[in-house]
């Protein structure tokens, strides 16, 4: 198994989180969390139910202020104005009154990119997720898998510094889930984005992640860091895969 030193050797640190703490009045939810996210990495976060994963993501995305601690992006404190942190929610969040291509344009317009750059990216994304024939349709007219692809396209079009995903495939049926996970890997490979993927599903984490961080129960700390150096495409019935999966399951179970 690759050691952490080997893993980090060739990589540049994209996001650095130090002493991240979050309290709600008396309740300590996040306790002094320290870790780095490397450039172009697919990092998965798992933990027991109710350990504060969503709070963790919200704090990272700056939706809620942290009580203490620092988040540095490219060495500079994270700032929504100049840093691009995109967020994919659990519920499908396509904008219902915009067509597919307008949905993709949406984020780009907000970031005030030049018009020709916007068009170039929209075309590229439509091609990448295979939704070119549906560009003028509205999200409700599409199936849920297509809707999810619109959301993926919209988020990746921004070329974000960091893409945060909060269990976006939780409610979908399993074959669809495999398909979207593969799509995610494909797009991630193409664009070399940095992705942080939070999930309850241990198998999903092992399937997707290059590295997995296991959170402990409340107050949440990083319990363990596991490197997943399996070749892609990964197979759930591969003994090495199963071994890592069992390891992660054990790690979550005992705290």
């Amino acid at each position: 198994m690759t050691t952490k030193e080997d893993y980090a050797r060739e990589k540049k640190v994209k996001v650095s989180v130090t002493d991240l703490t979050k309290c709600y009045d008396e309740l300590l939810v996040l306790d002094d969390i320290n870790f780095d996210i490397y450039d172009g990495e697919m990092l998965c976060i798992v933990g027991p139910t109710g350990c504060g994963k969503t709070t963790f993501l919200n704090t990272l995305a700056r939706f809620i202020p942290a009580t203490k601690g620092e988040i540095l992006v490219d060495g500079v404190p994270s700032n929504p104005r100049c840093h691009n942190i995109a967020f994919v929610f659990q519920e499908i969040s396509s904008v219902p009154w915009l067509s597919v291509e307008d949905n993709i344009r949406f984020g780009l317009k907000i970031k005030k990119l030049p018009a020709d750059e916007i068009e170039r990216r929209v075309e590229a994304m439509l091609e990448l997720v295979g939704l070119k024939p549906f560009r003028r349709n509205f999200p409700q007219e599409l199936s849920s898998s297509m809707e999810q692809r619109v959301v993926i396209a919209r988020n990746f079009a921004l070329n974000p510094d960091l893409l945060l995903m909060d269990e976006p495939y939780g409610q979908l049926d399993i074959k669809l889930r495999y398909y979207l996970e593969d799509e995610l890997i494909r797009i991630w490979n193409e664009l070399k984005s940095t992705v942080l993927f939070v999930t309850h599903n241990i198998e999903e984490a092992v399937y997707l992640g290059q590295r997995i961080l296991v959170l402990s129960n409340k107050p949440a700390k990083i319990k363990e860091e596991i490197i997943v150096d399996l070749p892609r495409p990964r197979k759930f019935d591969d003994p090495a895969f199963v071994k890592i999966r069992e390891h992660v399951t054990e790690s979550i179970r005992w705290w």
Binding site: I174, K175, H200, N201
Partner: protein, 254 residues
Amino acid sequence: MAQRPNIKIECRNVSKSFVTEQYTINVLDDISLQVEENEFLVVLGPGQSGKTTLLNCMAGIIMPDAGQILLDGKTITGPGPDRGVVFQQYALFPWKTVMDNVSFGLYIKGVEKSKRNEVAQKYIDLVGLQGFERSFPHQLSGGMKQRVGLARAWANGPEVLLMDEPFGALDAQTRYAMEKETLSIWEKDKRTVVFVTNNVEEAIYLGDRVIVLSCMPGRIKSQYPIDIPKPREYTDPRFLEMRRKISDDTELSL
């Protein structure tokens, strides 16, 4: 001498279509299947397949366009306490406490109060909700609500338990826990179960037999008896092999 298994519930040539102005969807197309007494049957299918419709027909909530559904050889004509249902959206009565919800079926039957509560308490304990008898559904988490749903259906003593993707709305870890619990309750209080899901792992974990449905039209694609002894391990090689086989067989509805 081998004993012929007793067929508890049976579908004969069941068909159901949904008709709109533009098109007709054959949700169920000539489905025939038999469920043995005390068998745990899983019906597996992707998102848009007719599996919920099939379950609703078996429950008697909707009527098939063609074909019949028989319970112990008699055609069913509507819903009834002989077939209990566990719904994906829980369908708990928000104005009733956990105890009143669980004893609902018995209350409808006219069982007197102390006996009702005794039986209900047994099932509340069985699903691990001791102490929550007087809570209301809105005070419970999703997993707990579904446990109430399970207890409510089971407590009424139905002959067949129909479960409609009951854990679909729960997160992966709670789901594993609920699957384990369902199995343990079933082992203690054996009944005929028809369980509908879109999750292959869940199907193999729970089912004695897994039926795979295709979608549009909804037909039985294949059947897989699962011979691995229970309780099963998700990472057991035989389990994974079965998963690979069935996964490759199910369709992807894009």
